[in-house]
Amino acid sequence: MVKNTIKVERAIKNLTQEELAKLISVSRQTINSIEKNRYIPSTILALKLSKVFGKNVNEIFELESDD
């Protein structure tokens, strides 16, 4: 599994799920699913997120120890 720090990064940037969703052209539910680790985004979406947060993709997404 892949875990992520989107919720934390979003809080740092003071963004709501809706605002973040608009920034990367997805639905709010998609952001929610990614935050809850129910959906692993594509590389493109991960890169868009990294651009918004100004961090590398592997700083936001990390493989869990068993993978």
Binding site: S25, V26, S27, T30, Y39, S42
Partner: protein, 133 residues
């Protein structure tokens, strides 16, 4: 990302209105024939209504939603796959059920009924997967 990877080629959102209009006209057509306002052979009514209803469901299923992203695309593809598996399973299992219950492989269910039930299954899957995303 190329076009195939990016998204399915879906119809614009306003095609939903066309689909619902076709559905409404189908219901109207069936009602008119039931109440004998128009005199058409029942089998023909069934055939026409089945085809137009199927057309409206097809248009609905390939019309884009307000927000289409990679998760909704994944849900669509999964729902299509699930409804295909459902269709094949029903085609295999129904004759067996008929054989057990009625002693015959023959079924009165036609292609229209099968495809309509597949579309209904598809919409149920979409609804459930979107609810649980």
């Amino acid at each position: 990302m190329n076009q195939i990877q990016k998204e399915l080629n879906l119809l614009p959102e306003n095609f939903k209105k066309i689909a619902f209009l076709i559905m409404l006209l189908t219901v109207l057509f069936i009602s008119l024939s039931i109440f004998k306002v128009i005199e058409i052979d029942n089998r023909l009514v069934k055939k026409i209504a089945g085809s137009t209803f199927l057309l409206s469901l097809l248009i609905l299923s390939i019309t884009r939603n307000k927000i289409e992203d990679e998760l909704t695309l994944k849900i669509r593809v999964k729902a299509y796959a699930a409804s295909f598996i459902y269709g094949v399973s029903v085609t295999i299992v129904f004759p067996l059920i008929n054989l057990i219950l009625k002693g015959s492989f023959e079924s009165k269910k036609g292609v229209h009924e099968l495809l309509i039930s597949m579309f209904i299954f598809y919409f149920i899957m979409i609804f459930l997967m979107k609810k649980n995303r």
